[in-house]
Amino acid sequence: MTPSLHSPTSPPDYFSNCTHCGFCLAVCPTYQLTGDENNSPRGRLRLWSEEAAGRLPQDEWTDFYTAECVGCLACETACPAAVPYGEIFEHIRHEHVATHRFSPKLPLRLAAAAVAYPALFNLAMLPARLLRSAGLGVHRFLFPGRPAILKSTAAYAGELMHRHRPTGPRVAFLTGCLMEAAFREINFATVRVLIENNVQVIIPGGQGCCGAFQEHTGLDGVETLRERNRRAFGPLEVDAIVSNSSGCGYALGKTLPPDKPVRDVLAFLGELNPVRRHRAKDDATRVYVDLPCHLVHGQKAPGIPANVLDATGYRWELAPNAKDCCGSGGVYNIQKPENARAILAGKSAFLNEAEGSPVILATSNHVCMMQWHSAGATGLVTRPYEVKHLIQLLDPGEDFSIPPASPQS
């Protein structure tokens, strides 16, 4: 007889995959923080399944332990039985919000409503762009950067495409909501890096938030957002759909059909062997690379390709425990700031003693960048360091040209 693997379709079935082995405990940030089995994936699955089976009445502690989960998905990587924890968690969280067992904080609810209207969200975030552009760090999450105030990534990409006329693979780029509204300079850098590597960049009109915001908060509306992106990306004939934020890329990946895989922009560049940046010989910069959970545990990527990291021209190494969560968890650092800070404290301690001048903490997800910036802004890290998206370390700047193709290629 050929063994058939489970293909769960409804939540009660999901639970049966868990054999209670406990391998998830070792990688769960909230179990490590509290030492409480209920605050682990195995514990939460047990709470949800006991409640679903009618053996455990609704209990505020179930609500509490559910809300405690960061959603980092490290447990999915550790799980030998392939329990689709993220999917179950998302389902339960949505149910808890719908039945008022859990209520996301007001600013998050407002933001979740706003991201459904990109133009409105862009307008609402104008002060953030202005403040960042003026070099005013007024919030612990607002890492420094100089975003364009009015010009969109789509307009910018159009200009560069016209100017440089790349001839290589065609990609459709997900610009994201918060990324576009607040951290647009990273999108601009992404466009430059892609075009410098002879990639044709298309910014599909009509695209919108990937839905991760709704997934993280458990609020309604995720399907509307997904449907909009299915319409925007689905019919395109491109070589790849790319995202520069691992969380958004993971969410869009769940939205589009399997024949339209969403690639992380760094993994995509890895296949092209990107143009290398050259640094001065005596450059003492050290780059510490942290791997976003939604890249390694969500998208199940092995990491960020070494040739891409080498192409930054800097001396780099992985941050200690690079595959562990930094505590950002989408909006976890807003929902559960104390836990998020405790998780970050463990992750970021090494920076105080890290070699290099300057020191750069580089990652590939803007919410992780926000969290890492807060380590300095709130005193966990007391020495100066910069937080960068890795694509920014490959950025040729405004004045670049596409290098002629080498004979081998």
Binding site: L5, G22, N38, R44, R46, L56
Partner: protein, 469 residues
Amino acid sequence: MISPVKSSLEHQLKALLPRGRVLISAAQLAGYGADGLGYKNHLPDAVVIPADAEELAGFMCGAKALGVPVVMRGAGTSLSGGPVAAQGGVVVHTSALKKILEINTEGFWCEVECGVGLNDLDAALKPYGVFYPPDPSSGPVCTLGGNVASNAGGAHCFRYGVTSNYVLGVEAVMLDGSVHCFGGPAGGRGSWREDWKRFMIGSEGTLAAFTRFWLRLLPLPEKVWTFRATYPDLKTTEAAIHALVAHSSYPAAIEMLDPRGVAMVESSQMACGLPGGSFMLLVEIDGPEALVNARVEAVAEILRHAGSQDVMFSDQDEIRKKLWKARKASGGLLGQLSPSYVVQDAVIPKRALAEVLQLVYDEADAAGIRAVNVFHAGDGNLHPNFLFDSRVPGELEKVELISKRLMQRVIEVGGTLSGEHGIGNDKSAYMPLVFGPDSMRLQLAVPAAFNPAHQMNPLKVFDNRHFIA
């Protein structure tokens, strides 16, 4: 609503644990109902998480007066029901006691708290060029407290031996709060006769609460070679095992996956090209580089001579990982195949392997239960896994009946109940199959000496070991 009795218990526990945590609501207890045997559920009345060793000792001072059972729990990965409250009471979760107190490379020992994770200890030891050999598969998460309590083994215990070979000393707190050292860093320096340390190891939480251990370390082997071979039948596989065991190369591990295990791996995303219907052997040798390198060809030749046509071996970490893949993946794949499984832990004389395996197949097939065998072939430690669905009425009973028949035969051929998982409450019913009434009476007197009312982990090891308040 919390009953007045519970409320009083909560009050007492909070007084005993001013800094730690006390869990009392139904939803706080649910996570503590089971161990690695997820389908057997026994809810405690409360769970406490002491903040540190001092608080655990303080809790033990007042534990007797609570008048309820006390059950120690590490990471809850046990496969015997050891850390569950079979008779209710308080589960003591040692998750906060995870300090590695000393690594002494001159004396080749370390001192650790009971909640230290096994692989965390390994990672901490590695930079010093030393290691702690026992390696149960739950290493990424299991704790040393659980390892000592169940005298854990692992794949490499064929040569290195089990946990008891590496425990120099145990610090244990009795129910009256008294702290005793059985052995110590140099061995034999505790307050008890050195040999009585063995009472503690494998006692499955029935005697005392462990707080810390002194463990013996070994130098990391310079070189490791991993071999993988497949065989068309059990006879040739057995020939290979016997030849390996008798050879002077003295493998560290000899692991086996039966054809049903091979089929499971090959039809999954973990497929690695093993021939259908084959038995897979996984062998490892380690030690000083020159010595081990000189033995590689001899081991490969033994594997070939016994009848394998596809012997593969390597000393490269990446390739070794690939050779181990089928063996390592098999445990998790069971979970993908079936909602529940029972893994037995019998140890048999190697000459009885074919007969006992056949019994497993016959019984499981007759009952319509899938069985997969993944085990430590070198020391005859069988792990037949019976896959079932605990939600289907009657399935658990079928599996229990098969297990019982298997155990009876294991005893008849001169084997025993458990190699490394412990008895817990999963195998306690089989104890009388191995031990006569006199032996049972004397063995029961041991926990009774330490806690006369059997307040520590009642109903474990002996199924008539009730706590009477």
